[in-house]
Amino acid sequence: MDELDVVRGFRAGVTAPGGLERARALARLEMVIGPAPPPRPRMPRRRFALVVATAVALAVAAALLPGRLGGGHGTGVLDRALAAVSTGPVLHVVLEVPVEQRWLAPGPVHVTVVDLTTNAERPVIARTELWYDPAGHRVHQQETVGGGLLWDVLETPAGSRDNLGRGDLAAGAPQIDPALGAFFEGYKRALADGSATATSGTVDGRAVQWLHFPGSGSGVAEEIAVDARTYQPLLLRAVCPECTRPPVTYRIVALEGVADAAANWTAPTPEEEHAVASFDSAAERTTVASISNELGGSALWAGRSVAGLDLSAVQLVHASTHSAVPPTPANRIASGLGATFVYGSAGGTSYATVAESRTAGFRFSGFNFDVAGGTVRAFGGAPVPPEGQAVVSSTQSDHWTVQLREGGFYVELDSPSRDTALAVARALEPVSSAA
């Protein structure tokens, strides 16, 4: 035994921080760097701290400080806007945004669901719903992507727990995000000193008033659009003059004060422990003739040639999941098989890969699905749609990914070209029928 093995094994069972710790750390970072929170690429359970902070601030201020708003500082619009927000003791906020807008990457981000027959395309929507009880020091937040619940967390003075099974926060004072607390204080100051302002504008042809709330300290300024006639809140966006991209704009589905009985304080149901800590795989060359036998079922391919690209390689992949890092035979949880078809020259300027497995829980080159909340998810947390549809995503202009399920397989296609990736998706067929 090597002494380095001993050191490597020491405290090797320590786990990485979980979703809650990640959310808190990210909220701290976002306090420094800017407004809208992006989701995690592969495990997008997280808190929309700053955006929610603004929404919370608005309604809580409405509930707690109505006198100050009417005290000669307001433009009138602010008074009416806040009057349009009911002032129940519990804040209820629902925000929606296409997931591709929240996602930060060096390149442009696209995440949509495409119908492979009609070519119809729709965005994948991320939704945050939050209940906040300032008097009872409780916060309940749920995040869904594409309709599937990703993250559910309840914080109370007695502690916190989420659907990932974590409940390890210290009891005591309410653990509101530092970002939220700081932003709230900044907003209250803005109300008190009259620095919140409003200007007229239009959104999709609809007359609105934009309410401007200056940032505080390292916080960021944000704006909320209210309908010019009804004063119902419609949109929320950050203001970042130094940013080169347009701000993320959230649609406000609900922003209201509700009775405690109308709030959702149901504790999250812990999911089964996610024991997988790492993945491993090894690929070996094989042939079209034998791949289906090796996989134990007819593999999917796009024929000998597709979109002008000839089949250049077929690989059988031995994939496994492991309970620790690095993956070793001793910590293996499960193993299985996958296949990869390469069209053109992988890594060149024109190619397409087809990676497939009957089990979405594995990861190997060109095959990246998540299993969260009992749902198999594609890039961006989007649930894998029914057969005939696919999640199409990209984080840079020269790489596109199409993820789908078909014939009992989960399939990922990668190509520098969106059109090529979709052409391959439409051409998929069982190897046996082609043979």
Binding site: V7, P17, L29, P41, P106
Partner: protein, 187 residues
């Protein structure tokens, strides 16, 4: 699919939020490393601090280095200096827990294998700089050159420190637990 860390950091100079990509890529590995060094609560606090500090210092990042991990580990090492005593205290407690079976209060992470208290004792006795090099090599999986970059040391110093600490670990194991197998260590 992702571009390099250097690209993201460069982009963050004009568009600060591009830096979130660095957080997304490295939070878990830095967080886990610090949890192996310190108590969870303190480690999580420092992990958040690593990224806010990194953001503040991003203008000085060497864009010729595509992987930001060594840089982040270096920031973590700087932050760890303030908590060296806490780390040593925990390591010594772990070492003592096995040495004195009558202890009524074991530390939170009591040893589960015979090697752990031995190694804890060795690590507790190392100079902080030596411990840093050893653990960045063994846990952080950095190369000599990456460690040198992270800690701003000459590569030769990294090699000599690593040789010295490896010899100390080897000697402690052979003295305390001769003939121990790997299987025994992993329990």
């Amino acid at each position: 699919m992702d571009r390099s860390d250097a690209t993201a950091i460069a982009a963050s100079l004009d568009e600060p939020r591009a830096f979130v990509a660095i957080f997304e890529r490295h939070f878990e590995v830095i967080g886990r490393y610090l949890r192996r060094r310190l108590s969870e609560t303190l480690a999580d606090e420092l992990t958040a601090e690593v990224f806010t500090t990194a953001f503040a210092r991003r203008a000085s990042y060497d864009l010729a280095r595509p992987d930001a991990r060594p840089w982040l580990y270096g920031i973590a090492a700087n932050l760890l200096r303030a908590h060296a005593r806490a780390e040593e205290r925990e390591l010594r407690a772990l070492a003592c827990a096995a040495a004195d079976p009558t202890r009524s209060q074991a530390p939170a992470d009591s040893p589960s294998t015979p090697l752990e208290p031995v190694l804890a004792g060795v690590l507790a006795g190392l100079a902080l700089g030596d411990r840093e090099v050893l653990l960045l090599f063994a846990w952080g999986e950095l190369t000599y050159e990456e460690i040198a970059h992270a800690l701003e040391l000459p590569v030769g110093t990294v090699k000599s420190r690593l040789n010295r600490t490896r010899a100390l670990v080897r000697a402690a194991i052979s003295t305390e637990l001769p003939g121990l197998t790997k299987e025994a260590f992993h329990g």
